[in-house]
């Protein structure tokens, strides 16, 4: 096989963007929906981990990975409903509830996930985009999981739906001014319930991707903060689904940078490159916070006390 060298790094970044971006994509799209309705759900890290565990368990018991994905979505929606339900009580802070649910979600996942660490569940299949490619690394990079394609399509659907459909308009109205939504005859609490449940379901599916495809096993270190990074991505993406897609691809590629550089013998700054996704999050937060008018595009009700 040819020695790839530096071209290999480019290929690894490309492959990494496809392989590792899906959890970021699903969580950030889900959080995007929830935040557009005027609530922040910081608990999606817990939802992601819980979804990963449920998916693995369901796939193992049923023998079907797609049933695992379904189970993850259901568990995610339930956790979302719990968040929305608690937040609909008076004087309850959505950020505090989110943090509590993050701890609850990971705790539940670790507890019920104990017997799932050893066994091997059936994995989600990959679509071989280029099965005839002579070049093995390219062939591997082009093994794409259907969930990735669904996530990409979803970003476009949300982009269109938020701008052009009645539910999209209602969601944004609730998020910008619950007073106005109420005046129009919509119940903000119900809209937020659906939006948070949908967000939770998407985060759960993101978790299913982790445990059932890449890296494709259940263990307690599986997420290592990807759900939290994805929540931060939404602010970077300015609550725009297509920007969420772009940011997720960027973060997927950033994760591949450290290993790829080491594989061609670049060993300077190993730790810095390994920390690339986290450093990138920080840099993005600083960049987006220091710009004037940061909150112009933010939903008006975000962070408001009710």
């Amino acid at each position: 096989m040819a020695d790839l060298g530096a071209a290999g790094v480019a290929l690894a970044l490309f492959g990494g963007a496809i392989r590792a971006s899906t959890p970021f994509l699903f969580v950030s799209l889900g959080e995007c929906l929830t935040e557009l309705s005027g609530r922040i759900n910081l608990g999606l890290e817990g939802t992601l981990v819980c979804g990963a565990m449920s998916a693995y368990g369901a796939a193992l018991l049923s023998g079907s990975p797609w049933l695992g994905v379904l189970a993850a979505a259901l568990v995610g929606a339930l956790l979302g409903a719990l968040h929305a339900g608690l937040c609909s009580l008076k004087r309850v802070n959505d950020i505090a509830v989110g943090i509590a649910l993050m701890v609850l979600g990971t705790g539940l996942a670790f507890f019920f996930g104990k017997p799932l660490i050893q066994p091997r569940a059936p994995m989600l299949p990959a679509l071989h985009v280029c099965p005839t490619c002579q070049f093995a690394p390219l062939r591997a990079a082009l093994d794409i999981n259907p969930l990735f394609l669904i996530g990409v399509a979803l970003a476009f659907v949300l982009r269109w739906g938020l701008a052009n459909t009645r539910p999209g308009l209602v969601l944004r109205t609730v998020g910008d001014s619950s007073e106005a939504a109420r005046a129009m005859g919509y119940a903000p609490l119900w809209v937020r319930l659906w939006a948070t449940m949908a967000g939770g379901a998407l985060a759960g599916i993101g978790g299913a991707f982790l445990s059932l495809y890449y890296p494709g096993s259940w263990n307690e270190g599986l997420s290592s903060g990807q759900g939290l990074i994805a929540v931060a991505l939404v602010i970077f993406a300015r609550w725009r689904p297509l920007a969420c897609l772009f940011a997720s691809l960027l973060f997927g590629a950033a994760g591949a940078l450290g290993p790829a550089l080491q594989s061609i013998g670049v060993h300077q700054g190993t730790y810095l490159f390994n920390a690339a996704p986290y450093a990138l999050t920080l840099a993005i937060m600083i960049a987006s916070a220091s710009r004037r008018g940061t909150r112009v595009s933010a939903p008006g009700e975000l962070g408001a006390m009710h």
Binding site: G15, I117, L210, P215, G221, I264, N274
Partner: protein, 377 residues
Amino acid sequence: MSLGPYFLRPVVRPLSRRALLAMTSGLAAALAPGRRAGAAGTLEIGFLYVGARDDYGYNQAHAEGAAAVKKMPGVKVLEEERIPETVDVVKSMDSMIELDDAALLFPTSFGYYNPFVLQEAKKYPKVQFRHCGGLWTEKDPKNAGSYFGYIDECQYLSGIVAGHMSKTKKLGFVAAKPIPQVLRNINAFTLGAQRVDPKITTTVIFTGDWSMPVKEAEATNALADQGIDVVTCHVDSPKVTIQTAEGRGLYTCGYHVNQAPLAPKGYLTGAEWNWATVYRNFVAEMQAGKPLPNFVRGGLREGIVKTSPYGAMVPAAARAEADAVKAKLIAGDFVIFKGPIADNTGKQVIAAGVDHGQTDLWLEKMDWLAAGVIGKT
């Protein structure tokens, strides 16, 4: 009354050894009347793990050892999982000692030793601490100690098999952190392979921590992309690396425990622990009232490490060569780190004619990578 556990710590109080013997021979009840019903003659032993104890890796290997201890009479085993290498481990040790009267603790993760285990050993001079992987020296508390296995012997054998199997002559190693044990494994694996063909190289990728599943998968993919065809690892759970490598059609050598069920097509052999030997010895000595050794090491010869059975694809020539070296290692007349050996910056680290046998402590301070390893400490 707290006579029970008091008597159970004979090593630091030699005078009470007789009392311990008396207790174990059935007089316990008379000497130490019911502090906690049934607890008097029981030796409480705590195992502390950094991850889940069924992780197909490091922690599972220790938990299998703990399971062997559980079968011994007169012991009660306490286990706690997922304890970070931070002040958390101090809290866990405190509670095992204060609340459960543990008299012997096995904190099994590398990062626990300094400063946490040393601190606790000073704080509780009557409790015995034996740590996996640390380097106990005479300056350290006498109730602390360390044990480890010369698993690089098995890595050397894996390297021989990998050297026979590799077509591209490029091997890969997914490693967590550049600490001496990891570097020693990388070097032994590479030296084993170079025995077959001196041109063979090993590319190392450090992921930065013991359990980073996504990064381990990325690392394995990056190695595959560079044309590497045999991969092994030193992380807490090799499951992700082995599965990802199997998916990419690579050969793999396992680590910690046998991962053959995860990779039926590519699993060649592997380096495994056999901690049951070590733990049973410690516990038996404690029960017999003997002082525990502070420094325990051993390899294939002592039965502390073992190799996975060869995969069906491993040809007879590879098996014969690995088996021959294994026999010599067991007999104790084979030296892996035998000069001349240069590091990968060209500097000679072991001069010609110098042997660093397994028990040589110099090897436990290893901070170099052998020539042919692509990587940096």
